[in-house]
């Protein structure tokens, strides 16, 4: 059984570690510090933590002011609020200024579970992806969350880092984390599966099942959504028979769109999109919801077989 970690726990611990080394790191939250785990930092460095109460717009624009005075700001709330509630503040006060503000959004995607549709951010990648200067990382597991946070701390400019609510299995042998470069978790030339976040684990199970059927799939963990690793997408298009994109996000404007933008301009191939199709989420356990929205490893496996059968 693989190690299971909350990405949020790793985030909170990494922040404390970074905070010890860098006195200019400041952390903000909007009344969710126990859920997002910024509370770890607050306990360790109370003078460098500010709770803004339930006021995300103020938190975002204040982060810009802190960054204008040389601070590296990490701030957290749930993804639904981080991306939508204060979008104009993120665009105009943070990204337009190209300030050092790192938005670490937790509770993203359908896997939020029982809280239901109002709390399930399925559009956040799209909302953040369209803003110039924004860097985006969607780590697939606990250790990769630490990589993402450390990268954001050491790289100038705004970041959006998307984390989930449930525990996730640690994936072995991913290779080094390089910001802006994909990780190829499985080599193969029959078909390519591109995934991010919790969908990487589902895709990995699908790849193993496909291998048993003689289908060699290339699995790409596209942890960095911006900047886009164009080269790896084009290699996959040239070297394999097609591409399936899996994301815990609407099929509009997220990872699949990002992949399609690269392909349509350079090397158009058939792309199948597995994600949430023009629907809101609903209450349920994460595993039930993945099934309801056709995002399980079995769905990926079947999609790959259908894809290859219909070429």
């Amino acid at each position: 059984m693989a190690e299971q970690l909350y990405q949020r726990d790793v985030y909170g611990k990494t922040l404390v570690e970074l905070g010890k080394a860098n006195k200019d790191i400041v952390v903000l939250d909007a009344d969710l510090s126990s859920s997002t785990r910024t509370g770890f930092f607050a306990k360790e460095f109370p003078d460098r933590f500010f709770n803004f109460g339930v006021a995300e717009q103020n938190m975002m624009a204040s982060a810009a002011g802190l960054a204008a005075c040389g601070k590296t700001v990490f701030l957290s709330t749930f993804a639904i609020f981080a991306s939508g509630r204060a979008w104009d503040q993120v665009r105009n006060s943070i990204c337009y200024n190209n300030f050092d503000v790192k938005i670490v959004a937790t509770h993203a995607g359908i896997s939020v579970g029982p809280d239901g549709a109002s709390h399930q951010a399925l559009e956040d990648i799209g909302l953040m992806r369209v803003i110039p200067n924004m860097n985006i990382i969607v780590p697939c597991d606990g250790p990769q969350t630490a990589d993402a946070i450390k990268t954001a701390a050491s790289t100038k400019g705004p970041f959006y880092i998307r984390l989930g609510r449930p525990k996730v299995a640690t994936l072995e042998n991913k290779g080094d984390f390089r910001f802006g470069k994909v990780q190829i978790l499985s080599e193969g030339n029959d078909i390519t599966i591109i995934a991010c976040g919790i969908m990487v684990e589902e895709a990995l199970s699908a790849v193993k099942a496909l291998a048993n059927k003689g289908i060699k799939a290339r699995l790409i963990n596209m942890h960095t959504l911006r900047p886009v690793d164009t080269e790896s997408i084009l290699n996959a298009a040239r070297q394999t028979k097609g591409i399936i994109v899996c994301e815990e996000h609407t099929t509009i404007a997220g990872l699949a769109s990002s992949v399609n933008e690269v392909l349509s301009e350079n090397y158009p191939v058939k792309v199948m999109r597995l994600g949430i199709r023009n629907r809101f989420g609903q209450s349920g356990e994460p595993a039930e919801l993945l099934k309801e929205y056709s995002l399980t490893s079995i769905d990926i496996e079947k999609s790959a077989e259908d894809f290859l059968a219909n070429l």
Partner: protein, 273 residues
Amino acid sequence: MKPTQEEIKNLEDKAKRIRRLIIQMIAKAGSGHPGGSLSSTDLITALYFSVLKHDPKNPLWPERDRFHMSKGHCCPLWYAVLAERGYFPESELLTLRQLGSILQGHPDRRTPGVESASGSLGQGLSVALGMSLALRMDKKDSRVYVLMGDGEIQEGNIWEAAMAAAHYKCDNLCAILDYNGFQIDGKTCSVMNLEPLKDKWRAFGWHAIEINGHDMKEILCAYAEAKEKKSSPTIIIAHTVKGKGVSFMENVCDFHGRAPTKEEAEQALKELA
């Protein structure tokens, strides 16, 4: 210390010169916002020529006070003041709003002296709050000043920031409200009433000072009072006249966001001579 007659006279002369530059810039650009620029001219002239701790030759001097213009559409005023203080050559002023200019239609960090962009209303008090917290964390005795419009404070974000600045006892923060009573669609009292305004800020935990925003003595005294106030942020509610200084622009809503024609500009400059 009481401001001297000479100091006040100098500031009044400067303000008149700034108003002339505002008219010239906006007329040349063919678009822009004269009304609110002219109503807050005295407030910002006094700030930059008599109050603010800054060094135009070293805009990033670590000990500097911060100024942020939350009502970003009044940047012609800011640009004129920055040029007069020597942040960049005055010749740049006539490039306002042109392609490639360092003087964008709304504030942008490409302008020397501008520390944070603005233009989307309601965010600047938060930006100033962030600056205030950062400076306090670094144990600087620098202060933060932010200019807001009256229509602007209809934005909910302002009140989020107001609540937080009082909660965090940001006494190094001074907000300046240009209360000219007009917004794009008409009088603030008919579009969306702001009153009782002083009571609102007091209820939010602020020290509120009400002044005539065109009286240099009152302006300087208000800045001095704000500096002395401990444990709470201060707002200077400055009663002003939209389009102040140009007879046909005063209290005329149309000049919120319209450039004067060539003839109107000439007339305005005569009045400001």
